[in-house]
């Protein structure tokens, strides 16, 4: 309860901060954001290396747990650099802090962890450095297409991908075997499996869902939907598109037939459900295994990973869920040094340190590394789960984009679409309300709404 009120409070604080931030942005030269021309490289690799050797202080705001080890190794390699790594809050909490700092114009970190869905918002407010100035465009081939596209916005590169979340279906094999249910290959089969399992034991559900903006957008993404259109300051949303309808058809049935456990993800009950088998599957990003191990330890050995069910039988479509980048703030005092850290953490030695500690990579070298692919997961009964994830990473549907007001939009998801999960409102009506409320907000922010 208290967490909910706090969230709302922060959401409100964030919303007001964003209003002011973007109002200031509107007075800037409008053409620069929509131009699409990449800025020329002004800092060479040699400059970056020199800055690393010369040393200095770096403030990094991130909640990613593996970064602690990366920072330690980084400081060992470049002893003159002192990194102050601060966890100022997870996800939305940190965005509030960032927004406040940008607004106040002081206390801004050099480097910040920003999830892909939030990156366009900070980029468009001109709070982040365009990494083209450091020649980041040459790193394109080092990353998998999904995460790389996510850090690109209107011709600028606003961060280096840190991790990614190609989706997979995690399922409790014990439960599936007990009720003799095949692992679903399509969402239609998933629906059938949901009915069978819940009918056999009313306490067991195939999945939980009380409304999760990130999940819904990922599901639409996989279905090939492209509801969001962004062109510079022109913004459009259309939840009536074919892909969205595919998702609505499946999920509305699950909701109407009460086949989803009314448990919110990341809540205590959720961890409990994953551990005791009352939540039988989970479609989410490939970063999940590390969480399984620490948060639902008693499910060990029972779970497996499978490819995401498809909308079209025989397809290989997938989507990203979650994942984040490291970005350099526009006002960073030591931006060249900061870029050196970004490269170390997200492209250089840091990648291996993070992957060894359970993070899911965004770099193509790791995704193709036979050693990594052959890793056997005890939690998944010795399964080589990375093979599943790597395949999913290849199947991520291209062309997806988030809105430059996505952080706000996701914060009002539960007030709009969320109603469909708990009342007679249909998903279609909920999505319509979400669309309207988001577009109104975008209009207030000075965007041209189509």
């Amino acid at each position: 309860m208290s967490a909910l009120t706090r969230r709302r409070l922060l959401g409100a604080a964030l919303a007001s901060a964003v209003t002011i931030g973007l109002a200031a942005c509107g007075s800037d030269d409008d053409s620069s954001t929509g131009g699409g021309t990449a800025a020329a490289q002004s800092v060479s690799d040699a400059d970056v290396e020199a800055a690393l050797q010369a040393g200095g202080n770096l403030t990094v705001w991130a909640w990613e747990p593996t970064l602690t080890k990366v920072v330690a190794e980084f400081q060992k390699k470049y002893p003159k650099v002192k990194v102050n790594l601060a966890n100022v809050g997870t996800s939305a909490d940190q965005y509030t802090a960032l927004q406040n700092a940008f607004q106040a114009g002081s206390g801004i970190p050099d480097v910040a962890q920003i999830e892909y869905y939030a990156l366009p918002q900070f980029a468009l407010q001109k709070n982040l450095k365009d990494l083209n100035a450091f020649g980041a465009a040459s790193l394109k081939d080092q990353y998998n297409t999904g995460p790389w596209n996510s850090v690109n916005s209107g011709g600028g590169i606003y961060g280096l991908p840190m991790d990614s979340g190609p989706m997979a279906l995690f399922y409790n094999k014990e439960v599936f075997d007990k009720y003799k249910v095949e692992v679903p290959k399509t969402w239609t089969e998933f629906l059938e499996a949901a009915r069978t399992i819940h009918k056999a034991d009313p306490k067991v559900y195939i999945a939980n869902d009380t409304g999760d903006a990130g999940f819904v957008t990922s599901m639409i993404w996989q279905a090939g939907g492209k509801p969001y259109t962004v062109d510079g300051e022109n913004v459009g949303i259309n939840f009536a598109d074919a892909g969205t309808q595919e998702f609505v058809k499946v999920w509305q049935t699950l909701i109407s037939e009460k086949l989803l456990a009314p448990i919110t993800s990341w809540s205590d009950q959720w961890f409990q459900g994953l551990a005791n088998g009352s939540i039988a599957s989970l479609a989410t990003g490939a970063w999940m295994p590390a969480n399984f191990v620490t948060s639902a330890a008693s499910g060990s050995g029972k779970w497996r990973a499978a490819e995401l069910p498809q909308y079209t039988a025989g397809g290989t479509a997938s989507a990203e869920n979650g994942g984040s980048s490291l970005a350099i703030t526009e006002k960073a005092a030591a931006s060249t040094l900061a870029y050196g850290f970004l490269k170390y953490a997200n492209q250089g030695d840091g990648v291996k340190i993070r992957v060894d500690n359970g993070a899911f990579p965004a770099t193509s070298a790791t995704l193709n590394d036979p050693n990594w692919l052959n890793t056997e997961f005890d939690y998944f009964g010795g399964q080589k789960a990375n093979e599943v994830f790597a395949k999913s990473a290849q199947g991520v549907v291209s062309g997806w984009t988030y809105l430059p007001v996505q952080v706000y939009s996701n914060s009002v998801f539960n007030d709009t679409v969320g109603k469909a999960y708990v009342s007679n409102t249909t998903l279609t009506d909920g999505l319509k309300a979400w669309q309207d409320q988001t577009l109104n907000y975008a209009k207030d922010q000075g965007f041209t709404v189509k």
Binding site: W63, G165, W287
Partner: protein, 305 residues
């Protein structure tokens, strides 16, 4: 007849006042007992829950009934040890921070409230009415509403992300000031002050030697109130502080709680629960030890003698 009636009635009227005087203390009301019982259970249940669950391991928390002990290992002491040592003992650092904020913030707030309350109660000066209006107005404004403007102001001063950003706003308690004001007006007779002046005592001497002891119950009340407010302060530090090294316990525990909900995050709910238990013990102790004072402080001024 008339005399008989009077005689028969007399003892009744005699008895009535004494009965009315005794009743509230002797007669038991089942409804009241029941209601108090419910309130007692309601207030103790979270504490009981906290105590029970601080004996469970992370895994035990999710596999056992919430209001009873689990069959797993009794992890109370290992939980305490883990809480104090997790992440290089950051919990102790947070505890130290909270103590710092309470001692300087709440202590300073009480000191200022006592000074100002006494001054406003016992001295006449121009603008007293305006001060009264401002203080009363300030009582009505919730601190949460001021947090964001305060943040922007402190950012301009370069004070955000320093302990001062938490301490300075904590120094101001309009409610404490108002409480001290009304308390001082009642508890310090003007005659004593006049006598002291006649005997040649200076204003500071009078304040420290005569007034302070008279104000003791009021001071303890204000101290307790501001201590609780500072100890539990969440929103202000949340906005002001970025560096976990300066977090108070409230923010620190929240950070621990939130760390499970992220990719690769380690769930340490057992430490969050044990940490919460450790966090409330000093407050409980303060209340129990100072109970005597603050009850009399609260009641003061409620009866006109």
């Amino acid at each position: 007849m008339t005399t008989m009636v009077t005689a028969a009635q007399a003892p009744e009227t005699d008895e009535a006042p004494t009965r009315r005087g005794k009743n509230p203390r002797t007669k038991k009301s089942i409804v009241l007992t029941l209601l108090t019982g419910i309130v007692l259970i309601y207030s103790l249940l979270p504490l009981v829950w906290l105590l029970i669950n601080s004996t469970k391991t992370q895994d035990g928390l999710f596999t056992s009934f919430g209001l009873w002990f689990d069959d797993g290992p009794f992890a109370f002491f290992s939980n305490i040890a883990d809480t104090l040592t997790y992440n290089d003992g950051i919990f102790l650092r947070w505890l130290g921070n909270t103590l710092l904020y309470v001692v300087i913030g709440a202590g300073g707030a009480t000191f200022l409230a006592v000074l100002a309350g006494y001054g406003l109660a016992k001295f006449d000066f121009v603008g007293k009415k305006a001060v009264f209006a401002i203080v009363i107005g300030a009582v009505a404004v919730p601190g949460t509403a001021l947090a964001v403007p305060t943040f922007l102001m402190f950012a301009k001063l370069g004070l955000t992300n320093t302990p001062w950003a938490v301490i300075i706003p904590s120094l101001i308690t309009p409610f404490g000031l108002y409480l001290m004001w009304t308390f001082a007006a009642e508890a310090v007779p003007t005659e004593i002050l006049e006598a002291a002046r006649v005997d040649g005592s200076g204003e500071f001497r009078t304040f420290f030697r005569i007034v302070l002891p008279l104000l003791a119950p009021g001071i303890v009340t204000v101290l307790l109130f501001s201590m609780v407010a500072t100890w539990n302060n969440y929103f202000l530090p949340l906005i002001m502080l970025r560096d976990p090294d300066w977090y108070p316990l409230t923010l620190g525990l929240n950070a621990w709680n939130a760390q499970a909900a992220t990719a690769g995050g380690e769930a340490i709910f057992n430490l969050v629960i044990t940490g919460s238990l450790l966090t409330i013990i000093p407050l409980l102790a303060a209340f129990l030890l100072l109970q005597r004072y603050w009850q009399s402080g609260l009641a003061a001024g409620s009866v006109k003698e």
